[in-house]
């Protein structure tokens, strides 16, 4: 009976298309990036010159590279310090209301299925200094015109707010699903014991949703390291490179300035940073939150 499903040629043919695509678009690019990161190639000429670790020392010594690393860090910090508490708060609220649950869930999720480019355009309009929504609201409270995206003081914050606006609802729905899957008896038993709503949330729900919060943080880290399109659409890294993230810094060098080798060095560094962060997080924090079964 196993013969039909134990044919090496068939197995090979079924694997092949996926294998070729994965090799072409995952394995080859990684090898290629590492290879060119040691060269000063400009991306067009026939001549490829090896320069050892020069690109790496240049990147690690470049102040603008570190500004972009810091901005990736700000993405992570903003999501952990500001978004995660909001996510938990709002999912608890939605889980505990009797009516309109579906409406809230549908509405908060909406921005996360839109294209980041269009969201960037939309928020660019909201931040517009003279006729934008935000300054129009602030004017009611007597606040002077703020140049949200053109002022170094506010540009990064404006991007972070837009990013949070787009993704908070997505995570709320994820956490909400985890809260709803907690058996009702646990809450009921606590209620009979006289625990108040807030006590139940703090003592029962929160500890039980720790694994999913850990997932949210992991995803935020991964998302923060990938961030690029929102920056390109809203500020193009400006003013004066103050909102560049690693990916946009890489693109600026490689595509705009024909420093292909150096761009690949930055790509490898993005890789290494992401791996280190993910591994550190898994090792320090995620390991401790064990699986929960009901």
């Amino acid at each position: 009976m196993n013969k039909a499903l134990r044919n090496p040629v068939t197995f090979f043919l079924f694997i092949l298309p996926g294998f070729i695509l994965m090799t072409m678009f995952f394995i080859y690019p990684i090898i290629s990036a590492v290879y060119y990161s040691f060269t000063s190639w400009n991306g067009v000429s026939d001549h490829v010159k090896f320069i050892g670790l020069n690109n790496y020392t240049k990147a690690l010594g470049d102040e603008r590279f570190w500004i972009s690393v810091t901005n990736n860090g700000l993405f992570i910090a903003f999501s952990i310090i500001i978004q995660v508490p909001m996510i938990v708060f709002f999912s608890l609220l939605i889980a505990n209301v009797r009516s309109l649950k579906g409406l809230y869930k549908t509405a908060v999720f909406l921005p996360s299925i839109m294209s980041t480019a269009v969201i960037g355009i939309l928020w660019g309009f909201i931040y517009e200094p003279n006729i934008g929504l935000l300054n129009s609201i602030l004017k009611l409270f007597g606040v002077d015109t703020i140049y949200w995206l053109a002022d170094e003081k506010y540009a990064m914050l404006s991007i972070l707010i837009t990013n949070a606006w787009q993704w908070t609802g997505f995570y709320i729905v994820m956490v909400l699903a985890a809260i709803i899957s907690i058996p009702r008896e646990l809450e009921e038993a606590a209620a009979i014991d006289g625990a108040s709503g807030i006590q139940r949330a703090m003592r029962i729900t929160l500890p039980l949703i720790r694994p999913i919060i850990s997932v949210v943080i992991m995803l935020s880290i991964a998302g923060a390291m990938k961030a690029a399109d929102i920056v390109i659409v809203m500020t193009k890294g400006g003013p004066a490179g103050s909102t560049d993230v690693m990916a946009t810094y890489m693109i600026k060098y490689a595509i705009t300035n024909f420093k292909y080798g150096y761009g690949n060095t930055v790509a490898v560094l993005i890789f290494v940073f992401t791996l280190v962060l993910t591994a550190l997080y898994q090792w320090l924090i995620a390991r401790r939150s064990e699986r929960i079964k009901y």
């Binding site: 134990r6 197995f11 694997i15 549908t106 355009i121 939309l122 006729i131 929504l133 991964a222």
Partner: protein, 280 residues
Amino acid sequence: MAGPYKFSFKKMLPHLILMIYLLVILFPFLFVLFSSVKHNNNEIALNPFGIPKQLVFSNYVEAWVNAKISTYFVNSLYISTLSAAASILVASMFSFAVSRMRYTKLGFILSSCILIGMLIPNNALLLPIYLLVKKLHILNTHWALIIPYIANAIPFSVIILSAFMRSLPTEIEEAAVMDGLRAPGIFARIVVPLTVPAMVTVFIVNFLGNWNEFLLANYFLSNDELRTLPVGMVGFRDQYQMNYAQMSAGIVYSVVPVIVIYAILQEKIIEGVTAGSIKG
């Protein structure tokens, strides 16, 4: 609502807070919608929050012509559909081999490799993929997006589809083998039809991902007629930046189809998108 309904403050407070959150999410869309039926920037500045007394629909006509929305829309639609469908075909063949054929060890190794693929920050691979696409002489054609999109969606699709296929009982194959079917027949006639529900989810997620993709679409195509909706919209904004009323009409065009699809398929979309991220 039967019986006396008590409006207690304690009961209404969560709703009040949630309504404020909803307002923050939905008002930007309304702001754009209102702005799109105003004459010009001046009218937006004078009356930023409300609906204008006189609705101006000419912005929609002009935006449609100036922004070539129909071209971008068709490009996005067919690139996203084709790539999403092709990913499912490739991924379901792969998943079938690793989950249903009798090569358990090899299958396990291959699917673990695929899992690692999900951890790779794919924006960092933009430059080598650019080079690869250039070497294949497909730069500045739609293939430059379609093929990488197919490849990008494989890890997620394989993870979901192989998990689903693994959960199917082995008896179905035994019966099929008795009937004389071979592996390709079992795949096409038995496993694929049973996997359709998972495929729908995977298709939606892949389609949305392709529909919204910006980086590759921005750097791999230079002809305006080839552009996809997100890139075309950004180009349109850069060109007509001073005319916010018209730009708002453009935003409405690009947002409405997504909202309509979301309204119809929201349960599937939410389920698929969140499942995808957790597995990752």
